[in-house]
């Protein structure tokens, strides 16, 4: 187990540039999620770390040693694939044993008949069987060891793939969307199990997913990737509450963050002709965007910042999400309300919304975070 350094890695496939200079440091024992929409390059990055692809430029180092030119087989990394990629002709036990056989036995010892009579083969075989049993017990698949992958359910195959990855002691585990072929219920369960496995093994995990819930619930840090770059790499709560970029804010959080246009008129901060604050430095940009999480909006009757009509309602039992079409520009915002407030949220009902400006996240027109504007807005007393 060791730390991992990825330094300005780029990857081009012909004309298309998939990774545009990715730098990432992963500490020993850390659980890092690479999350982003499909096509953002997260899987390519993982395959480059694994050694299955070579980067166009940049370096990869594991435990201080550079491995950029090393074959996948020599990097001592384990990988779990989305499709599980179990060997269909081998039993579960044989599948889990393969990485050990490949690393601990010589080519001669692996031969079907001759291998059995060579000196040392017996003890090797016993050691491997022992390790396989241990891994199987850890994942509670000991009863399945004699089955073929074709006879297993998706969840069981997933465990076998995990078993094959953890049977040896790799420098890091690479997981490529390992839960996306499972049904929703099993996914939640396996999610918790993988997180627990990480705590128990204290190993480095690099986890690729497009599901932000997985990333939020399991990781020490999340690296949000988009368009071949890492936009932000930080702890899940930081990513959620303090995003650097509007794309990060929009990608993380479900339902999606509400984005409303802001304007600066002199030193006044305007939202749909309404002055929110008048202490803005005149150096701030004229056009800005404001991100408001659904939970930052409140239903109100007096002095609403926004008014609109309820056009869609989703009742999840513990909470209610309402989509409100704004009177000002017709755009929709999502509001999270408590079930107790449901009677005010009938379809078509006219509602007023207010928010605390300190909960707003402000970005410039290009999407970069404007922390100084937020500072000015929240520190100065409102005089509106």
């Amino acid at each position: 187990m060791s730390d991992l350094h990825i330094a300005s890695v780029t990857k081009h496939f012909g004309e298309t540039s998939v990774l545009k200079g990715v730098t990432l440091d992963v500490k020993d024992g850390e659980f890092i999620s690479l999350v982003g929409p499909s096509g953002c390059g997260k899987s390519t990055l993982l395959r480059i770390i694994a050694g299955l692809e070579t980067p166009t430029s940049g370096t990869i180092a594991i435990g201080g040693a550079e491995v950029t030119q090393l074959r996948a087989a020599d990097r001592n990394l384990s990988m779990v694939f989305q499709s599980y990629a179990l060997y269909p002709h081998l039993t579960v036990a044989e599948n889990i044993a393969v990485p050990l056989q490949m690393r601990q036995m010589t080519a001669l010892q692996r031969l079907p008949v001759l291998g059995g009579i060579l000196p040392g083969a017996r003890t090797h075989k016993d050691d491997i069987a022992q390790a396989v049993r241990h891994a199987a017990e850890m994942l509670e698949i000991a009863a399945l060891l004699d089955r073929k992958p074709g006879q297993l359910s998706g969840g069981q195959r997933q465990r076998v793939a995990l078993g094959r990855a953890l049977v040896r002691d790799p420098a890091a585990f690479l997981l490529d969307e390992p839960l996306s072929n499972l049904d929703a219920k099993l996914r939640v369960q396996t999610r918790a199990e993988i997180a627990e496995l990480h705590r128990r093994l204290k190993a480095t995990f690099i986890y690729v997913t497009h599901d932000q819930v997985e990333a939020m619930t399991m990781s020490d840090r999340i690296a949000v990737m988009m368009g071949g770059e890492i936009l932000q790499c930080a702890a899940p709560d930081v990513i959620y509450e303090d995003p650097d970029d509007i794309r990060v804010a929009e990608f993380i959080g479900s339902p999606k963050i509400n984005v409303l246009p802001l304007e600066r008129n002199g030193s006044a901060l305007m939202l749909f002709d309404q002055v929110l604050n008048s202490h803005l430095s005149t150096e701030s940009p004229k056009v800005m965007q404001m991100g408001l999480r659904p939970e930052a909006l409140q239903l109100t009757q007096s002095k609403p910042h926004l008014t609109g009509r309820v056009v869609h309602l989703e009742n999840l039992g513990s909470e209610v999400f309402a989509q409100v079409a704004l009177d000002s520009n017709g755009s929709r915002v999502t509001l999270r309300a408590m079930p107790a407030q449901r009677h005010r949220l009938g379809l078509g009902a006219q509602v007023g919304l207010s928010f605390d400006l300190s909960a707003a996240i402000i970005f410039d027109a290009g999407g970069a975070r404007l922390r100084h504007v937020e500072g000015a807005v929240t520190c100065a007393p409102e005089v509106a």
């Binding site: 996948a72 384990s78 990988m79 989305q82 499709s83 990629a85 179990l86 269909p88 490949m102 094959r164």
Partner: protein
């Protein structure tokens, strides 16, 4: 059903056309020469006792035989002893036509040797073809290297070359190497099968990339992947290829006829059929057809035993 009757009609006609020669072959192998010449006796023939004229000719009793037999036929003159001896010979040389045909098939020529030759040659060809085709197909299907498409184009191009077009250069090459009339001459020209490479490549294209990446992560080298991952998953496709390869080379008459000229020890089963072709004393159709039946039986038995896997292999649906 009623609307599909014409399909069945076509299929039945096709089946008759395909099966008729086999019917004749098996039927002839049961019949006596007379029945074959006259075209009578139905499928099995009448199976009357017949006398092998050659057997009689070889065992004509001579002076010495008569002297030796005199003790058994006491008080008889030479003519009647000779007649008795002749009757004994005839009894010994008479047999059912089916026994005659099949015993001739195995005694007239070393058919067992030919069959063993056939097994050795076809299996060596298939084995070496697989050893060449599997890594080549893996490289063409799953590895990225400069010129891969060009190489695959060459493979497709080679599929278009008929064997007979290159037979002469091949023969001359083998002759210059002094390899004619050897097992090598029967095997070596067929060891690289572009059809095999093509077939296996098409199959390997359907194997998920993740499986190969997983093998790499598990520490396998590329060649190990071919033998330990690709080969086991490709068994159905390999079986399909085995049918084509084994059938083609088991039944091949053309090439063995060219490179095996004198040495009868190297004859493959189809060459064995020539032993019964008409010489001065007429053709032995019965034994010849018996030989043909013996030659095709292994293939038919193998097909019936593995019919399911064979058809799976041909449709390449055995995966998953």
């Amino acid at each position: 059903m009623t609307r599909d009757w014409w399909k069945h009609l076509v299929l039945i006609l096709g089946a008759i056309i395909v099966l008729a020669p086999f019917y004749m072959m098996v039927s002839y192998s049961f019949k006596s020469p007379g029945e074959i010449d006259r075209g009578e006796g139905g499928f099995f023939g009448r199976q009357e006792q017949m006398i092998d004229p050659r057997c009689i000719a070889l065992r004509q009793p001579g002076r010495a035989d008569i002297e030796a037999a005199r003790t058994r036929f006491l008080g008889q003159d030479d003519a009647s002893v000779q007649a008795s001896l002749l009757a004994e010979t005839e009894a010994a040389c008479s047999m059912r036509p089916v026994v005659f045909n099949y015993s001739k098939a195995f005694t007239e020529a070393p058919l067992v040797r030919y069959l063993l030759n056939g097994v050795a040659v076809t299996l060596s060809i298939f084995l070496i073809q697989s050893v060449v085709a599997l890594p080549a197909a893996y490289a063409l299907a799953k590895l990225n290297f400069w010129g891969r498409d060009a190489v695959f184009g060459l493979v497709l191009f080679c599929l278009l070359i008929p064997v007979h077009a290159i037979a002469l250069p091949l023969y001359i090459g083998l002759a210059k190497l002094g390899l004619t009339n050897t097992y090598a001459a029967l095997v070596v020209p067929w060891t690289i099968s572009v059809f095999g490479i093509f077939l296996m490549r098409q199959f390997f294209m359907t194997v998920p990339d993740d499986l190969i990446d997983a093998a790499r992560m598990d520490g396998m080298s590329e060649l190990t992947i071919v033998w330990r991952v690709m080969l086991p998953t490709a068994i159905p496709a390999l079986l399909a290829f085995a049918i084509f390869s084994v059938v083609a080379h088991w039944n091949d008459y053309f090439w063995p006829r060219i490179v095996v000229t004198g040495n009868r020890d190297l004859f493959t089963p189809p060459l064995g059929l020539r032993e019964f072709k008409g010489d001065g004393d007429g053709s032995f159709f019965g034994p010849m057809m018996a030989t043909a039946t013996v030659i095709v039986t292994p293939l038919i038995v193998a097909f019936l035993l593995a019919q399911r896997r064979f058809i799976e292999g041909i449709t390449l649906s055995g995966m998953k």
